[in-house]
Symmetry: C3
Subunit: 145 residues, 3 copies
């Protein structure tokens, strides 16, 4: 018998061209693909300035993209009737630790609506994410009852 998977997306063209789901629910667990700071029109919020060779010149928009990333996670979880309160684990991949570390507390406390989010969290630096103007990507595991 085939495994019963409930797969959801945002209805974006590249979800189909790339061939993946924004989130998949099996049983009581929801696996959420790495989310990023795109707005509803598919544009990156707070795109950083690039130099002539396409390298990111500063990371000061980290907080802006982090906030949008949690908004998108919330949006995809809502398709399963879940919220960020259902998140049990998150992994943050960031291009710069200093700016991400500074935003980590305030942005997440606001997003999780809690002074002490009950979430296991890991944050590491990566040299490059999928899109050239992307500063952060976060993947999640959530549990439902």
């Amino acid at each position: 018998m085939a495994l019963l998977k409930d797969a959801k997306g945002f209805g974006l063209a590249w979800e189909e061209s790339l061939g993946f789901a924004q989130a998949v629910k099996v049983g009581d667990t929801i696996y959420v693909s790495g989310q990023l700071g795109l707005d509803d029109k598919g544009n990156m919020v707070g795109p950083p300035p690039l130099d002539d060779s396409g390298r990111i010149r500063d990371y000061s928009n980290m907080e802006t993209q982090m906030r949008q990333t949690y908004a998108n996670a919330k949006k995809i979880l809502s398709q399963f009737g879940a919220t960020l309160e259902n998140v049990v684990e998150e992994v943050l991949y960031v291009l710069d630790m200093e700016t991400a570390f500074a935003a980590f507390g305030p942005v997440r406390k606001e997003a999780y609506a809690s002074k002490r989010p009950a979430v296991a969290s890991t944050m590491v630096v990566t040299p490059r994410l999928s899109l050239p103007t992307q500063l952060i990507e976060i993947k999640f595991i959530a549990k439902v009852q």
Copy 2:
């Protein structure tokens, strides 16, 4: 009472010397270690050309290694009576985003035998993987019934 773990490997010498399992099943969940592009004899497929200091000169074999990595994931899952259809989450660690992004759609659609794999997926760049000629590593979580 000890936890009942079903651990599997490929029978390679370094699984024992390093001390890990290629995959572990507990209950309905299979956790698969980062897979890579080794063939049945333990040789890297599509090893990239290295310069005099051992640095990788180009990433054009990314697709070849990606395809082999999924073949190996399929192989280890089969030991549990599972297939790639059981995968719910994958994380791809790649040395180069451009070549990996180009291969991502076609290779995975073929591997998952689906135009729209129901898999949560995250891909990030890492500067270095375990083996010097390794371009990609992918870890998986699969669910069985």
Copy 3:
């Protein structure tokens, strides 16, 4: 009905200021945040020598920090009545592959008290972890009965 989460920490000030849990248990699964090589007083064990610009000069303390990281994972798991035997998956983020690869076998066999730990394992290089003297971070998923 709200999801029942059992969140644990070490009682450190920055767990509250940053707003996360060292580990969260829901049902039979424990998600452990990236652990690092801090001692009981919150000091990094084996801090590497830094050059004038704050860059790490050598990675020879990798084994020391790796051992302490497993000790801390053991400590947080014990709060749930679990041990490292309950671990099913680990992801190691390291600043240097050579030293980490050399330490991987011996340190883990000792930590897991097994010649062949039944753990799915993935190790990748990251350019930078949370703290400037941190050489390694490891996240875990554990299962209990």
